[in-house]
């Protein structure tokens, strides 16, 4: 209980410490101690303003998700560069698609929307008022249903395991 009050948000403490060490740019004991200090004080001060604390599970899954997204970003870059360079504007088929969401927590939906924006030919443009669908713009989507299926199978399923 005492530990809980001292570290209201252990994950934030760790992230802040790592960010501090990276900003200082030297891995010395001074930087680590000061980073932990920063990570201790900031969560305590900002605690009243948090809307909620998302629970994260499966650290291995998170690492897997990050690697998959990084790889997809590389692929996305090559694909988009190919479309920009080699397709005539008349041949590109842009489309808005509406993706039904199974995710419920706002944090998970935010991560999904961010992922969609960073990956192959898609930008998330709007979210429904009830938070149960996402408006996505595709740069070149001859088959919108395939894009929906891919996003749900590749990203949403993994995020559901991590966040919910």
């Amino acid at each position: 209980m005492m530990l809980r009050r001292l570290f209201p948000h252990p994950l934030l403490t760790i992230v802040l410490a790592i960010v501090w060490v990276m900003l200082v740019n030297t891995l010395t004991i001074n930087a680590v101690v000061f980073g932990l200090g920063v990570g201790l004080v900031i969560p305590l001060i900002t605690a009243p303003y948090w809307p909620g604390r998302p629970r994260l599970r499966h650290p291995v899954r998170i690492a897997e998700y990050i690697l998959i997204v990084l790889w997809d970003i590389v692929v996305a870059n090559v694909q988009v560069a190919g479309i920009v360079l080699f397709k005539r504007n008349a041949d590109i088929r842009p489309a808005f698609i509406s993706i039904p969401l199974e995710l419920r927590t706002p944090e998970a939906i935010t991560v999904l929307a961010g992922t969609i924006t960073m990956t192959p030919g898609t930008v998330s443009s709007d979210v429904a008022r009830d938070g149960r669908s996402l408006l996505v713009h595709c740069l070149d989507a001859p088959d919108p249903d395939a894009v929906t299926r891919q996003i749900k199978a590749r990203y949403e399923r993994r995020l559901k395991e991590i966040f919910e």
Binding site: L85, S98, A113, G121, D126, S133
Partner: protein, 131 residues
Amino acid sequence: METAAEIVIALLLVVSGVFGLVGSYGLIKLSDPMMRLHAPTKATTLGVGGVLIASMLYFLVFGGAPSFHELMITLFLFLTAPVSAHFVAKAFLHRNIRREEVVPARHGSVWAGYSPAEDAPATGEADDRVE
């Protein structure tokens, strides 16, 4: 060893330069604002990423100490790029495309950018539409 590192760094810089160029070219070439949004959010990410990896390699081999600032730049880029793209897309939808023209949301809901003015609290949203 140092020659090999130099070659890799030079390659990374050239590749990222090419992607940056393609991203900028996409801004000119693509025909509508929503499509143009795709060019900077992607082609440029790899462009910036390549430069950052090259920089980390350079400081690791020639600078004598590893540098972490590049990882921070990546983190901030990944946090800000989707948010700004989302804002631009939302503003474009709000001002240029009527609600009936967009694919409908599921479960009979409406897109947040098109919230009906009458049941939204007075936040000046209605004023934005006047033009």
